[in-house]
Subunit: 361 residues, 2 copies
């Protein structure tokens, strides 16, 4: 996938940089880990530091000092998940800031303007992310709204060009909850409008994992092969393996970063909880097969000590490792896809990954 | 100053790595900043992870993965400042752990054993750090105890060799509160016992800064020129300039790290509080004359945003800069001392540093 801030190899995982920082990791460390694109949250950045500061800085890349691609969401998801006072209407969604209670409106047009001003390489349309469970009737009506918003986003996007010296792409978002027909209708309508890429939203919100895979397959069948497909908010290493098999290209999830900060680390043979007393005098690296800074220099015993002592370095080192693991997984997938041995490798990996301790998912 | 983990140029500042981690900074970043020696706290490490784990790891260097020199304190200072239940007797000090309330005794002999097992390049004797203010009578009696303990530490040190494949040094600690005569007596007695280096303790505990400088001069006059002198727990940039002029060689202080975590940053023209609204759209580096990672890549506006958003990266970047500033200050001092222009440069620096906003001292 080409952007004017560089190419993104797919399948690829995008670390979440909600407020313009991937929590507890320096930008130079992201580059060292092989991160090619990060995600920023328009909702958070719009509220703080606010668009005036970001415009004055010359866009989000310059504000945060990150020179590679950035994808921003529209802010809609945070409006639905973080704010309690809201009104969803055709014109847009009215909400109160979770920071100071002030009232704001996100419309299809305003989220395009915000993302133009952020200067994201990839912008997302405004959508309603349906909760789970969700009645068919609600899913269908909500999706109709999401499609009307998608059309208006596309119009706004075409009317109003980029603010900075680089081009921007706009992705549509397939909604429709767990209903195959609504999902198909959604995907077909979006393709008709025409976007630079397509996201599958409203999954990983509590539905059975088999349902998530089934809906991915439904979307895969409709969405054009030559455009990137982004499965939003997914997921575990197993989710990534299964979803890449189902044609998904891009992923974002707080799992590697948040789990890392909670002492839950991923390894090639399953998860570990570094707070566990069995690691007290375990002088092996977190993952003996990993070559990240953490695994090359530090032991489980030291990391456990840092977590017990509530040292910030614990969060840094565990996050670095978890991101290294996710980036490694994607790199391996790109390799075995090209080698034509994805399926066999995937089964082998799934078996390995099912070892270890239970992880927060 | 030579150690078997490498040389330490003096004057030098030692970042505080209380629990085996300099808060919010990776070891490779310490090296990048020019850190040559870090300080570990025996009290904290003795309680957690405990000596068994550290012995099994092969000492503190190996446990934490730091291959350059480490100085450990005796643990006495933390016993006096962190634990409320304690008994000071000739045999040692009885205290309750601030973690779980368990009872422990630190004796002159046991703190040597602990530091042997930690494998510190520089070990400190057990002393009583007198509070401020402190009556002459108490200071004199306390110092007599500190001297008896120093003698027993030296004996224990000579009887019981290093545990690992590197040599260790033992420093004595001058006490005596603000009383010139007690300080002189203390320094003379320690020199008679004979140590590899001498620390000046019990300062920067609330006394006027002029008193601190006066007592440093008193100690400087008695302590041998050819041995390193370590002024414990000091201090501000101005304190370092004045104390180096008074013959002090080594310093440790939580100021650069703790202030960094509180958004207080040091610059060549005084301190800044990055939470201040005036930095909202200030796209200059923290210190335009600094070449650290933070100043080379990020703006005050971005750091302010990270602090406002409570992002861990804020603590990392501010700490990196503050340590870079302290290490730069020491490097400059070494240079101007060799060039024979210390005094003029010091006056110039003091004038510059007095600008800026007021800092936590």
């Amino acid at each position: 996938m080409e952007t004017e801030h560089g190419a993104v190899e797919t399948p690829m995982f995008m670390p979440v940089g909600t407020q313009g920082s991937v929590k507890a990791v320096e930008h130079r460390e992201l580059l060292e880990l092989g991160v090619q694109i990060i995600l920023g949250n328009a909702y958070h950045l719009y509220l703080r530091p606010g668009m005036e500061v970001i415009r004055e800085a010359g866009g989000l890349h310059r504000f945060v000092g990150w020179e590679r691609p950035i994808l921003t969401d529209s802010g809609g998801y945070q409006v639905f998940s973080l704010t309690d006072l809201r009104r969803i209407e055709d014109k847009g969604v009215t909400f109160r800031s979770h920071l100071d209670g002030s009232t704001h409106v996100f419309s299809p047009e305003s989220v395009v303007t915000i993302q133009r001003e952020l200067g994201a390489d990839i912008m997302m349309v405004l959508d309603e992310c349906t909760p789970y469970p969700c009645e068919l009737d609600y899913a269908a009506r909500s999706n109709a709204l999401t499609l009307r918003w998608a059309e208006r986003c596309k119009e706004a996007f075409e009317k109003d060009g980029p603010r900075y010296a680089h081009g921007q792409a706009l992705f549509g978002i397939v909604q429709g909850s767990v209903y195959r027909e609504v999902r198909e209708r959604s995907a077909e309508a979006l393709v008709k409008i025409g976007f630079d890429g397509y996201a599958v939203g409203g999954l990983a919100v509590g539905e059975p994992v088999e349902t998530m895979y089934e809906i991915s397959e439904v979307c895969d069948a409709v969405l054009p092969r030559e455009k990137p497909r982004y499965l939003m908010g997914v997921g575990t290493p197993a989710n990534l393996l299964e979803s890449v098999e189902r044609g998904m290209d891009l992923f974002d999830c707080v799992l590697p970063t948040r789990n890392g900060r909670n002492a839950n680390v991923f390894t090639r043979s399953g998860g570990l909880n570094l707070r566990n007393a069995i690691y007290k005098a375990d002088f092996a690296p977190v993952d003996p097969e990993c070559s990240c800074y953490t695994c090359s220099n530090f032991t489980r015993a030291y990391l456990r000590h840092l977590f017990q002592a509530k040292e910030i370095l614990a969060l840094q080192l565990a996050t670095i490792h978890n991101l290294a693991f996710y980036l490694w997984l994607m790199r391996e997938m790109r390799k075995v896809i090209l080698d034509g041995r994805f399926r066999a490798w995937k089964l082998e990996m799934l078996a390995k990954l099912s070892g270890g301790e239970s992880m927060v998912q």
